[in-house]
C-alpha cells in the first residue's frame, strides 16, 4: 500500500522512472523496442493468468452428490471424461503457443545479441582503455600515436600519480591521456578495452544500454556507438567492496569538434627539464 503512496509523488516528480533512462546509443533503439515488446506480452500473460486465478479463488463450486442410478452415473462419467479431454487439449495448445512465444523471444534476442556482441569493433573505431579499481573508473586515451603505453602492476602507485601503473619508459606512454570521466564524440564507434586491477567491477552505462564486467587478469573489449550528445551516468554494477555505491562517473557525449578540443586541452605537456 505504502509503495503506492510512494509512487504518487514519484510519478509527478520525474518522467523517466517507469522506463529505462533515455537511450543515447546507436544499438539501443533495437534493445528498447525488444524490451517493450517482451514486457508488454509478458504483462498481458500475467494479467490473463491472474484473471484465471482470481476467478478460481472466488468461484463457488458446490459438490454434486453422487446418489444416482447407473445410467446417470455413466453419463456424468462420460461428461467428466470429455471435460478432462478438452482441458488436456487446450493445455497442450496453450503450451505449444507459449513454446512458440519463447522461440520467438530466443530468436529475436539472439539475432540482436549476435549483431552487437559476436564481432569486435571496426578497425577504425576510437580506442579507449577503461580501468576499474576500488572505487574509481579511469579512462585512458592513446594520444596522437594511437598506441597505449605499457602498464605494469608493480608500477601501480596512486599516491604518486600513477594509478594505472603506466611504464613511463615506454615511448607510447608519453602522450597517453588519463581522465576520470569518459568523453566521446557522437556518431563514432568506440572500442573500449575493459580491465580491472583489483576485483571484479561492472561497467554499466544505463543510457548506452551497455554493461560488461571488468575482470582482473582478463582484459576485454566491448564496442558501441554513442549517437546522442548528452551526459550519461556510469555506474559499477558488480559489488566490489565498501565503496561500491560511490563508484560512479560520467560519460559525456559531445560533437566531434568539442571532443578534439577536449583532447587537446588534456594532452600531457612535457615538463621543462624533466628526464625519464
Amino acid at each position: 500500500m505504502s509503495a503506492i503512496f510512494g509512487l504518487i509523488p514519484l510519478a509527478l516528480s520525474t518522467d523517466r522512472v517507469w522506463w529505462m533512462p533515455s537511450n543515447g546509443a546507436l544499438h539501443g533503439l533495437a534493445i528498447d523496442h525488444l524490451m517493450w515488446w517482451n514486457l508488454a506480452i509478458l504483462s498481458a500473460l500475467f494479467v490473463l493468468a491472474h484473471i484465471l486465478l482470481i476467478t478460481a479463488l472466488f468461484r463457488s463450486r458446490p459438490l454434486k452428490l453422487h446418489h444416482s442410478d447407473g445410467q446417470q452415473e455413466e453419463e456424468s462419467r462420460d461428461r467428466g471424461r470429455k471435460v478432462a479431454d478438452k482441458l488436456w487439449k487446450s493445455e497442450l495448445i496453450l503450451l505449444f503457443a507459449l513454446t512458440l512465444l519463447y522461440t520467438w523471444m530466443a530468436i529475436s534476442a539472439q539475432r540482436l545479441w549476435a549483431t552487437i556482441r559476436y564481432q569486435g569493433a571496426a578497425p577504425q573505431a576510437l580506442q579507449v582503455e577503461v580501468t576499474g579499481e576500488q572505487f574509481q573508473w579511469y579512462f585512458r586515451y592513446p594520444g596522437t600515436d594511437a598506441a597505449f603505453g605499457l602498464t605494469r602492476p608493480e608500477l601501480i602507485n596512486a599516491p604518486a600519480g600513477n594509478p594505472l601503473g603506466i611504464d613511463r619508459t615506454d615511448p607510447h606512454s608519453t602522450d597517453d591521456i588519463i581522465s576520470s570521466i569518459l568523453v566521446l564524440p557522437a556518431g563514432r564507434e568506440v572500442d573500449l578495452n575493459l580491465r580491472s586491477i583489483d576485483v571484479i567491477h561492472g561497467f554499466f552505462i544505463p543510457g548506452m544500454r551497455l554493461k560488461q564486467n571488468a575482470v582482473p587478469g582478463m582484459p576485454m573489449h566491448i564496442h558501441f556507438t554513442p549517437s546522442i550528445p548528452g551526459d550519461y551516468a556510469i555506474l559499477c554494477s558488480q559489488v566490489c567492496g565498501l565503496g561500491h555505491a560511490r563508484m560512479q562517473t560520467h560519460l559525456r557525449v559531445v560533437s566531434n569538434d568539442e571532443y578534439l578540443t577536449w583532447l587537446a586541452s588534456h594532452a600531457p605537456k612535457p615538463i621543462e627539464g624533466a628526464t625519464r
Partner: protein, 572 residues
C-alpha cells in the same frame, strides 16, 4: 513391551534423537530462526537505503560496508538456511518416510548428524558478525578476488573465512541428507509403492536429492579451493598482477595465474540448480494440495513427473545465464540462453496444469477456502509473476541491461523467495497437525495470507521499475556523482521500505498463530484434510499400497477420497 516404550520415549526426547519427525521439526525451527534473523537484516538494509543517518537498535548507524555485510548475511541465511533447509531437509525428514509408507529414514543416525552439522554451520555463519571486521561484504555469491584477499575490504578476513567454513559444513550436511533422502526413497518404499504411485512431493524430493549431490559437491570443492587460495597461497581464482589497495600481491612463489571466472562457473553450477532445489519441493506440494483442496486427482500426473524430471535435468545446464556480462564467450551466452528458454517450457506446462486443476476443481470438503489453499494460490501468483520475467532475463541482450539491477532482485524475490515462502507457509498450515496434533487458527491464517500477499507485491513489484530505471543492486545509498540519476528513485525506494516493514510485521501474525495453535489449536483428528497420501494414515506397520496417490472422486460411487493404502474403499 515396557522396554520398547522406554526406547520410544528416549528416541523422542533425547537431544541426539534419530526420530525423523523430531529431526524434521528441529530443522523447521532452525529455519524459523534463520528466517527471523534474515528478515530483521533485510529491514535494516531497507531502512539504511532511504535514511542512512538513522541509528538502529543493535547496529547503531550503519556504515556502507555494514550494509554490504547485511546483504551478504541476508542472502546466505535465506538461500541456505531457509529455502534449502526447510523444504528439503525439514519437510523431507518430517513427511517423506511416512509418505512412502516407511517408519523411518533409511539412515536415521545420518539424519541426526546432518541436522547437527547444519546447526553448527548456522552458528559458524552467525559468528561472522562478532569477529573483527564483521561479516563478509561480497554478497552471497562472493566473487573473488574480493572474497579471496583479506585486504580487499572489511569483513573479508576472518568474516569471510567463517562464511566459507560455514558453507563448507552446510554442503557436507546437505550431501549427507540428500544421500539419506535418496536411499530412503529407493529402498524404504512400502509394498505396492511403485514409482508411479509416489506422491509428487516424493518425486520432487527425489529430483532435489540428485540435484543436491551435483550442486553441493561442486560448491564444496569451490569453497575448499577458495580457502586454499586464501591460506595456502594457491592461485585458483587470483590472477597474476593482482593489486589490492595499491599493493601488489606477492605471490612470486605460487602459480598465481588463476581466474575469477573459474569461481563464477563453479559457483553458478551450484547456484542455479540451487534455485530448483528450493522450488521443486514447492511444486510437488502445490500439485498435492491442489488435488486435495479441489477434490480432484492431479491433472496429468505423469506429465507432472516428466516436467519435474526435465526441470531437474535442464536445471543443471543453465548456470551460464548468470554470467552473460561476466566476460564469458558470447557464443556460450547464446547456448545458455537457448537452454534457459527451454526450461521455461516444462515450467509453463506445470503452471498450465495447475490452472487446469483450479478450473475443473470443486470446493474442499473441509472448508471452502482453507488457509493452506490460499497460500497455494499465493505461490501460484508469485510463481507466475516471477516466472514471466525469467524469459526476459534469459535473453542476453536484455539481461545485459537488467543484470544486477533491481529488476533481478524483483525477479528472484518473487519466484524464489515469495513463492518459496508462501509454499512453506502452505506446508506449515497443512502439515501442522502432524507436528502438534492440532490445526492452526483459520481466521488468523487468512489475515496472515492477505496482509502478506499485499505486502509482498507492494515490496517486490515496484523493484521492477527501479531496475528498468537502471538502479544497480548492492548500493548502500543513493548518492555519488550521478546522484541526480539515482536520487530520482528515492521516493520509490522509500515506498518499498514502508512496504517491507508492513510485510515483516504481518509475519508476527504467523508467529502468534504458531504459538497459539501449538497449545490451544483445534484438535485435528487423524486425517483433517481428508487426504489420500500415507502421511495421514493412522498406522504404517502393515502398510500395503494398492492405488495411486491422488484418488479424489475417482469413482463416483465411492467416498470422495480413497487412501493409498485402503484395501477395500468404503462405499458412500
Amino acid at each position: 513391551m515396557r522396554i520398547q516404550l522406554q526406547q520410544t520415549m528416549q528416541r523422542h526426547r533425547g537431544l541426539f534423537t534419530t526420530d525423523h519427525r523430531t529431526i524434521g521439526i528441529r530443522y523447521l525451527l532452525l529455519s524459523l530462526l534463520a528466517v527471523a534473523i534474515g528478515t530483521v537484516l533485510s529491514i535494516f538494509m531497507r531502512i539504511h537505503i532511504v535514511s542512512p543517518d538513522l541509528k538502529l537498535p543493535l547496529f547503531g548507524q550503519i556504515p556502507p560496508e555494514g550494509y554490504l555485510a547485511l546483504v551478504t548475511m541476508h542472502g546466505t541465511l535465506m538461500v541456505f538456511f531457509v529455502l534449502t533447509t526447510a523444504p528439503v531437509n525439514g519437510f523431507a525428514s518430517l513427511i517423506l518416510p511416512s509418505q512412502i509408507g516407511a517408519q523411518r529414514m533409511a539412515l536415521p543416525l545420518l539424519n541426526a548428524a546432518s541436522f547437527w552439522l547444519t546447526s553448527l554451520s548456522l552458528t559458524v555463519l552467525l559468528a561472522a558478525f562478532f569477529v573483527p571486521g564483521g561479516a563478509p561484504i561480497s554478497g552471497w555469491t562472493n566473487y573473488p578476488p574480493l572474497s579471496a584477499i583479506a585486504a580487499a575490504g572489511p569483513g573479508q578476513a576472518t568474516g569471510m573465512d567463517l562464511w566459507l567454513v560455514s558453507i563448507g559444513i552446510f554442503c557436507f550436511a546437505s550431501i549427507l541428507s540428500a544421500v539419506n533422502m535418496l536411499t530412503t526413497i529407493v529402498s524404504k518404499r512400502c509394498e505396492g509403492m511403485t514409482l508411479l504411485r509416489m506422491p509428487l512431493t516424493v518425486w520432487s524430493w527425489l529430483v532435489t536429492g540428485v540435484l543436491i549431490l551435483f550442486a553441493f559437491s561442486i560448491l564444496f570443492a569451490a569453497v575448499a579451493l577458495l580457502l586454499s587460495d586464501r591460506h595456502l597461497a594457491t592461485g585458483f581464482f587470483v590472477p597474476t598482477g593482482e593489486v589490492i589497495n595499491g599493493l601488489l600481491l606477492d605471490r612470486a612463489n605460487s602459480h598465481a595465474n588463476g581466474s575469477p571466472m573459474l569461481w563464477l562457473n563453479l559457483f553458478w553450477f551450484f547456484g542455479h540448480p540451487e534455485v530448483y532445489i528450493a522450488v521443486l519441493p514447492s511444486m510437488g506440494l502445490t500439485s498435492s494440495l491442489l488435488a486435495n483442496f479441489t477434490r480432484r486427482p492431479v491433472f496429468g500426473y505423469r506429465f507432472m513427473v516428466a516436467t519435474t524430471l526435465l526441470i531437474g535435468v535442464f536445471g543443471l545446464l543453465v548456470w551460464g545465464h548468470h554470467m552473460f556480462v561476466s566476460g564469458m564467450n558470447p557464443y556460450a551466452g547464446t547456448a545458455f540462453s537457448l537452454m534457459t528458454m527451454a526450461i521455461a517450457i516444462p515450467s509453463s506446462g506445470k503452471v498450465l496444469g495447475w490452472l487446469a486443476m483450479l478450473l475443473r476443481g470443486r470446493d474442499s470438503r473441509v472448508h471452502p477456502m482453507p488457509t493452506p489453499m490460499l497460500f497455494t494460490f499465493g505461490f501460484l501468483s508469485f510463481f507466475i509473476a516471477g516466472g514471466l520475467t525469467g524469459p526476459i532475463l534469459a535473453q542476453p541482450i536484455l539481461d545485459a541491461y537488467l543484470h544486477n539491477t533491481y529488476f533481478v532482485v524483483a525477479h528472484f524475490h518473487l519466484i524464489m523467495a515469495m513463492a518459496g515462502a508462501f509454499s512453506l507457509f502452505a506446508a506449515v498450515y497443512y502439515w501442522f497437525p502432524l507436528m502438534t496434533g492440532r490445526l492452526m487458527h483459520e481466521t488468523l491464517g487468512k489475515w496472515h495470507f492477505w496482509l502478506s500477499l499485499i505486502g509482498a507485491y507492494a515490496t517486490f513489484f515496484p523493484m521492477h521499475f527501479a531496475g528498468l530505471a537502471g538502479q544497480p543492486r548492492h548500493y548502500a545509498q543513493l548518492i555519488g556523482s550521478t546522484s541526480t540519476f539515482l536520487s530520482s528513485l528515492l521516493p520509490l525506494q522509500t515506498g518499498i521500505t514502508h512496504s517491507a516493514l508492513f510485510l515483516a510485521s504481518a509475519q508476527l501474525l504467523f508467529l502468534a498463530n504458531l504459538a497459539w495453535s501449538a497449545r490451544r489449536g483445534k484438535p485435528a483428528g487423524s486425517n483433517p484434510w481428508r487426504a489420500t497420501t500415507l502421511e495421514w494414515a493412522s498406522d504404517l506397520t502393515q502398510c500395503r499400497v494398492v492405488r495411486g496417490p491422488y484418488e479424489y472422486n475417482f469413482q463416483s460411487n465411492l467416498s470422495d477420497f480413497v487412501m493409498q493404502c485402503a484395501a477395500e474403499p468404503e462405499q458412500e
